[in-house]
């Protein structure tokens, strides 16, 4: 039985690795080893990471870093890459997500971590207009808007003069989007020239070590500045050492975990430490379809958003799909078209039984309500791949996971946005299909309501270069307080973007997700 590392340590920590004890997790005919970390181990790891960072990374030219990550990205885009083959064999067993889903949403997001992305982020300098209106950002197909007070504007102005060195960035990563946040954490740490320490989720300790090994294959020196290890979340004997040694701690997890880490970091900061906490707790998304876009093809893009990470990504449209009346398709026709597209897409991006059964549980609860005695309509799949429910009664209930797609008809999208206000602290992403003439106005309304990521339908689970994220802006959030609310629109020309995405969606239906010619946007 072959043994795999469920961790990654720099080569300079070889002697420590030999001393550590490991827990074995059997998957298929393989064993994943995860270290049982103690406080002494972690003290050695953070010290070594910081020394290595000083030695290898602090003066490394950005072009060299960009080339390394660009090469990593190209490696993973190759279906024959051994590490990718291994990940696609084992990740479905660890996460219950199908390998096709992992390829389309997780890996295709990683392929975007290339030279262009790194150059963009490393020279980031947003114009002051972002405080007034959605502003196109140079180098990215994105509009950005910032909602802030006077002092926040000043702190943003000063950021370009910020020469504060970051030695260690720690990422605590979630299990719902397996692999993506880990790889993002590794690469963002490198581009701010900090060592990166990644805590993996216990259910899936495999991907991040594979990705870190890929980085080390491309650039040994960067590899010396990364560590990927699991530990029991909340273990203060370990986390206090890590937090005290980190300039930034980014938590992407449940609200409860994020708040628990926040309380601890606030306490450490009161004791004289200077740790920037970036807290990303649980969020729910929504899909808004304007009447001008209520078409069969857009229903297909909405289907892609519903399928993404089986609805468990923080941006997934868990609240449902709200369709304006008086379009080419009525809301109920849109629901039917959505079901048709789900059926086709589910052949290319199949669902596993695990999520089917979870959906069955939720459907049971929903259809036990009296309104299902009339007025509601359910569209099911002959092979139980999804369920689309057209609900006649408007409600906001974030239960649209496991390909349980709930469609509502509405008079206007503005009305829906207004009703989202009580959910402000849980809002983040909206998948949107609108004409170019409406997007700015509605985006402004959404930004003020609390949305941070306005994404063109079909890209909800596929983050893009230049976007805000969860109310913050990547990289900036390491340096400035969280009091600025950042909102982005991930396409400048919505109508054209929708046309391009429909081509990709049709390619997915006809040629599957492992097609090397499938365009990435």
């Amino acid at each position: 039985m072959s043994k795999l590392k469920g961790y990654y340590l720099p080569k300079s920590l070889k002697s420590l690795e030999k001393e550590m004890e490991f827990t074995e997790k059997k998957v298929n005919n393989k064993t994943i080893l995860t270290p049982n970390i103690n406080s002494q181990n972690i003290a050695n790891i953070v010290t070594e990471l910081k020394e290595n960072r000083k030695k290898y990374l602090s003066e490394m030219p950005l072009t060299e870093i960009a080339l390394a990550y660009g090469n990593v990205s190209r490696k993973w885009a190759d279906n024959k890459y051994e590490k990718k083959k291994l990940a696609l064999e084992l990740l479905p067993l660890l996460t219950n997500l199908s390998s096709e889903l992992i390829e389309f949403y997780q890996f295709r997001s990683i392929y975007k971590i290339d030279e262009k992305t790194i150059n963009f982020l490393s020279t980031l300098n947003l114009p002051p207009e972002v405080f007034k209106q959605f502003t196109p950002i140079e180098g990215a197909n994105t509009y950005v808007r910032a909602y802030a007070g006077f002092r926040d504007k000043l702190s943003l102005k000063n950021i370009s003069q910020n020469d504060k060195e970051l030695e260690l960035v720690t990422y605590i990563t979630p299990s719902n989007v397996p692999g993506f946040i880990e790889s993002l954490g590794i690469f963002i740490a490198s581009i701010v020239k900090a060592a990166g320490l990644i805590k993996t989720p216990s259910v899936q300790p495999l991907f991040a070590p594979l990705f870190a090994e890929s980085v080390a294959e491309q650039n040994k020196e960067i590899g010396e500045t990364i560590a990927v290890i699991p530990w029991a979340g909340g273990d203060e004997s370990i986390e206090d050492i890590i937090f005290r040694n980190s300039n930034v701690v980014s938590v992407v997890s449940s609200t409860q975990t994020a708040m628990s880490v926040k309380n601890r970091i606030d306490k450490l900061n009161r004791e004289g430490n200077s740790i920037k906490g970036c807290y990303h707790g649980g969020k729910f998304g929504i899909e808004l379809i304007g009447r001008e876009m209520a078409t069969k093809d857009v229903a297909g893009l909405a289907a892609l958003d519903g399928i993404g990470y089986e609805g468990y990504m923080c941006g997934s449209p868990a609240f449902g799909f709200f369709v304006e009346e008086d379009g080419e398709l009525s809301p109920i026709e849109f629901a039917e078209a959505l079901a048709g597209e789900m059926e086709k897409l589910s052949k290319s991006i199949p669902q596993t039984n695990f999520f089917r059964k979870l959906r069955d549980v939720k459907i049971g609860e929903i259809i036990s309500r009296p309104e299902f005695d009339g007025g509601q309509k359910i569209y099911t799949s002959p092979k139980n791949n999804f369920a689309v429910i057209f609900e006649s009664k408007f409600n906001l209930n974030p239960i649209g996971q496991n390909r349980l797609i709930r469609v509502f008809g509405v008079k206007s999208l503005e009305e829906v946005i207004d009703k989202m206000k009580p959910w402000k602290e849980y809002l983040q992403t909206a998948g949107v299909a609108l004409g170019n003439d409406r997007i700015q106005k509605i985006a402004e309304l959404m930004g003020k309501t609390g949305f941070s990521n306005i994404r063109v339908a079909g890209t909800v689970a596929l983050p893009r270069l230049g976007e805000a994220w969860d109310g913050n802006y990547p990289i900036y959030e390491f340096y400035i307080p969280d009091s600025i609310q950042w909102t982005s629109i991930n396409a400048v020309d919505f109508e054209n973007e929708i046309k391009e995405l429909i081509k990709i969606k049709n390619q997915v239906i006809t040629k599957g997700v492992f097609n090397p010619n499938l365009q990435i946007r």
Partner: protein, 428 residues
């Protein structure tokens, strides 16, 4: 048509001792009959089965597909059913397999609202989660009679009760729609009519809901304050009542049943006050529901306390495992203190991928059951419990049924056993 004769034949203590294959054949016939009946008479269940591509005829290989989530029984949308009587009735009609041919008025309190349903033939027994959203199970007269029969037959298979002669001392309310209280009362009164002592007179649904979900208005805050003040006294009086009944029956055979925290506190009271409450050595002590909401006392510690306070051999202390959604309980055998799955229930365990686990050897999984004896709702339900079952059966007694080795709540679900409700209701 619901074949009550078939159900009566299945729910019998004799089936604990018959060949498994023989009982399985009978049980499967009853499940098929019950499924067909609910498919034809329950609008929700009909739609649910259709969604899964199933119709009124079901084969055993598809039994795992017909289980419905327990959340169905609290899927109503209103916070207070008694304030929306017509809407709530519509919900009950949708999940129920018997017609509801009266118009509820909703006369003030939740308790009186439930009383209104009851006086019209339908009992809405409940249990609650910590959220305070009550789970309601609609039980018609036949289904209620099956609670009595299932409990009595399960107990009979183990304890050999002297019907009409047993003296019951119950640490549960005499009048309540809380399902665990109701079940204990009707079973005891059926076995020994007029020979049942209740330590608590009544426990109203409104108080339970308030205690489980917390107060939502200033009026409820005031009520909650006074209830909190009152409850320790009620518990103390209950214990005193139980103790004086135990004293009165010193040396005689009694059946003492209640939630474990009340049994423990009664034993402690007896010992602290030096009271002689030693009951007859052929007595039985029964608890159900675990310790939710209270600190847990180990079985060994309980055994010691029971022996010391009541003079009872720990083997005669039996723990019962049941659910609000089920008509049955699993009873410990005296020989090995192993909980036996009643032969009229089909247990299905699901693995972490939600696939059914073959019923062989010792297996652990998420617990679902098929109980064909429920006429007024489909008794095919997935639960929030994870259990370990030994399908090879009991090494200590002659019963042929599988046994339960362990029970744990799945973390995603609320703590919601009936005993948990009682414990939390009276906790400070």
């Amino acid at each position: 048509m619901f074949d009550t004769g078939l159900i009566e034949k299945l729910v019998s203590s004799e089936n604990y001792y018959k060949k498994r294959e023989e009982v399985e054949k009978l049980r499967h016939k009853a499940i098929k009959m019950s499924h067909k009946y609910h498919f034809e008479n329950n609008r929700f269940y009909h739609d649910y089965c259709k969604l899964k591509g199933l119709n009124g005829d079901i084969k055993p290989k598809d039994f795992h597909k017909i289980v419905i989530p327990d959340g169905v029984f609290k899927s109503y949308e209103m916070e207070c059913p008694e304030k929306n009587p017509q809407e709530f009735k519509k919900w009950v009609e949708r999940i129920s397999s018997v017609p509801i041919d009266f118009t509820p008025k909703g006369m003030g309190s939740l308790e009186s609202f439930l009383e209104e349903f009851y006086s019209n033939g339908l009992m809405l027994g409940f249990s609650s989660g910590t959220s305070g959203k009550l789970t309601f199970l609609p039980r018609d007269e036949f289904t209620r009679s099956m609670i009595v029969k299932s409990y009595t037959e399960a107990i009979d298979a183990t304890l050999k009760l002297n019907k009409g002669q047993e003296k019951f001392i119950l640490g549960i309310p005499k009048k309540t729609f809380l399902q665990v209280g109701y079940n204990g009362r009707v079973v005891a009164e059926n076995i020994s009519p007029g020979n049942v002592f209740h330590a608590i007179d009544s426990l109203k649904a409104d108080i339970i809901r308030l205690r489980m979900r917390g107060p939502r208005s200033s009026k409820e805050k005031i009520m909650n304050y006074f209830i909190k003040k009152m409850l320790p006294r009620i518990e103390k009086n209950s214990i005193k009542g139980i103790v004086s009944n135990l004293e009165a029956n010193r040396g005689k055979r009694v059946v003492f049943m209640g939630p474990p925290f009340l049994i423990i506190n009664t034993a402690k009271y007896v010992l602290e006050h030096g009271i002689d409450a030693k009951i007859g050595e052929d007595s039985f002590l029964a608890s159900t529901g675990g310790f939710k909401g209270r600190s847990i006392v180990s079985r060994d510690k309980m055994n010691d306390l029971i022996q010391e306070a009541f003079g009872l051999d720990p083997k005669r202390y039996i723990d019962l495992y049941g659910m609000t959604e089920s008509n049955s309980i699993m009873v410990d055998c005296l020989e090995g203190n192993n909980k036996h799955i009643p032969p009229w229930m089909e247990v299905i365990l699901f693995d972490e991928h939600m696939e059914p686990i073959p019923p062989e050897g010792k297996v652990t999984g998420n617990y679902a059951f098929l109980e064909p004896s429920s006429k007024s709702f489909p008794g095919f339900i997935t639960t929030g419990d994870k259990i370990k079952v030994d399908y090879d059966g009991c090494p200590a007694c002659d019963k042929k049924t599988p046994i339960l080795l362990s029970i744990e709540r799945l973390p995603r679900l609320e703590s919601r056993g009936c005993s948990g409700v009682l414990a939390k209701t009276v906790a400070d």
